[in-house]
Amino acid sequence: MRILYVNPLPEGGNPAIDAIGHGVEAAVRSGGGELRCLVTDFREPGLGEDTAAAFDAGIEAGVDAIIMYALDPAEPAAAAQRARSAGVRVFSLVPPDFPVDGAVVYPNFNQGLFMAQWLAGRLQPADRVGIIGGPDTPDDAEEVIGLIYGFSRAGITVVNDATLPQWCNLIDVAAGGEEVGRRLLAEHPEITALAPYNDETMLGTLRVLEETGRTGTLPIISRNGSPAAVEQVRAGACTATWDLDATGIGWAAGSLAVRNLAGHAAEGERVMSPVGRLISRDNIDTWRPWEDRIDWQPLIVGLG
């Protein structure tokens, strides 16, 4: 059983995406299969074409299945159709807009809701929250809706509309979080707490707080549970990070593909990824690095 994983980012670009890939690999290996990777880069133009080319290479190499990450839910529809017509099963992290043999669903809304509830429990009604959204992928949009709803349900005022592009970290790296965070804090000096949608964005906002001598003064919550964010929680600069169990997400995708190829999954089956848990200073000593949660082996790039 040979499975191709089309990694949407070169290793080292984002620890959560790296951990997802290693989770996929560990699950496939655990099921008796072999995983090969081809790498694209969602930050570059032409992601759809690059992903399609990876699919075609997988078909040519005779892999049994392809696992992709549907950052753009519309792509690569035609290549996925070609793969399935050639008898190659297609699985996706996040259901795309086109037919696949199975998909992993993220409980983004629930995570946003739980993050907001937790932080709201530590705020007063007079507090004012600023939210920084992401690059408008389905994942980020759903998490932000959960955040907005969660603060609203808890009676905490959010000062900005994080569904608008000006309050979103569209480039999805720390520098983007820094830029939006600087503008948000300047335009809304009444902010007393922050909810950057992910850890990278949070790391950018921390730079702004550091510059203004406000490190550790604002409650901040973000999502991912990346090692860098956990360190900031430990240092007291960030209040909490939602550990979305990135290796568990990858494991869910890999094991779904293995089950399907063994004839033990429903056609088009969708499975939920782990919800994860919140990491704060209260439980930080129980946090385990993603590398320690699975049998973490190198990802083999290429189909040869």
Binding site: P107, F109, N110, I145, R270, V275
Partner: protein, 309 residues
């Protein structure tokens, strides 16, 4: 090993609640764990005190873990604290606002998104869709948020505010669904699609559509995957019902219990999602398996008096 399951409704009151209990019991039985049940019915006047009493009685009877279906996120806090103070792990359905060892949450928002996506495959772009909301229950509110987001994402036109009382089936029975669907049809006569938030509401909407002569003309999806809804899909009257996989929800809770009791794992406030389920359209309806046939429906043993010294 033995656990206590505190069920929120008396057996036989609600097929879904029963199915969840059987999913929990049968999966635990496969792993050599016995389930005892106490019914702390949330409709009774002594609730939520009865749910706290149930947990405490279970701990005193020496159960190894407690599973609670949380209806109010603040209850049964005292019972859960008592259990944990006695070293008995507490695992809940829904995430409460008090400390537990682990919980299972429902992906209601995702259900709403996928229901909207499915409806979009049946309608023309920008088609007019009316949504009938439900009572002010967290599950239903989250479903509504997913529906609204999903309709917008797929380019359908939501014509009404689902939070408007005129379109909310707060009674949660079919008759209420009929009244609210009639309001929608009266206010928006050009409606192309309708989403009654659950199957009971859909049954009322079918009656309203029949009376207005638009049955089959307005495309509908609803949530739950009840046998009646699936039958209407088979007959071509309804167009899709989202099967929540309720026995699978019980099995998901059971898997956490097994990890804790058999695996010795410290779950440490772990939160896992219940199965996402699937849409039952005309094709799936033909091979749909009722909840009762998916798992063994062993007898649920109530209480544990003989266990108490």
């Amino acid at each position: 090993m033995r656990i206590l399951y505190v069920s929120p409704m008396a057996y036989g009151s609600n097929d879904g609640v029963d199915a969840l209990g059987h999913g929990l019991e049968s999966r635990l039985a496969e792993n050599g764990i016995e389930t005892r049940v106490i019914y702390a019915d949330f409709r009774d006047p002594d609730w939520p005190g009865s749910s706290n009493d149930a947990v405490i009685a279970g701990v005193d009877a020496g159960v190894d873990a407690v599973v609670i279906w949380v209806i109010d996120v603040t209850e049964p806090a005292a019972g859960a604290e008592y259990a944990r103070d006695h070293g008995v792990p507490v695992i809940t359905l829904e995430r409460p606002r008090f400390a537990v060892d682990a919980c299972v949450v429902y992906p209601n928002f995702n259900h709403g998104v996928y229901m909207a996506e499915y409806l979009a495959t049946l309608l023309a772009p920008a088609a007019l869709v009316g949504v009938i909301g439900g009572p002010e229950v967290i599950d239903d509110i989250e479903l509504m948020l997913g529906l609204v987001h999903g309709l917008k994402s797929v380019g359908l036109t939501l014509v009404n505010d689902p939070e408007d009382e005129r379109y909310k089936n707060t009674s949660d029975v079919a008759e209420g669904g009929k009244e609210k669907a009639a309001n929608l049809l009266r206010d928006f006569p050009e409606l192309d699609g309708m989403i009654p938030y659950n199957d009971e509401t859909m049954l009322g909407a079918v009656a309203a559509l029949r009376e207005s002569g638009r049955l089959g003309d307005v495309k509908m999806v609803s949530r739950n995957g009840t046998p009646k809804a699936v039958q209407l899909v088979r007959e071509g009257i309804h167009h899709g019902t989202w099967d929540l996989d309720i026995p699978g929800i019980g099995q998901t809770v059971a898997d956490l219990v097994v990890r804790c009791l058999i695996g010795g794992e410290d779950l440490d406030d772990l939160c896992v999602a219940s199965p996402i389920g699937r849409m039952i359209g005309p094709e799936q309806a033909m091979s749909w398996i009722p909840w009762r046939d998916r798992i063994p429906y062993n007898t649920l043993v109530e209480g544990f008096e003989e266990l108490v010294p």
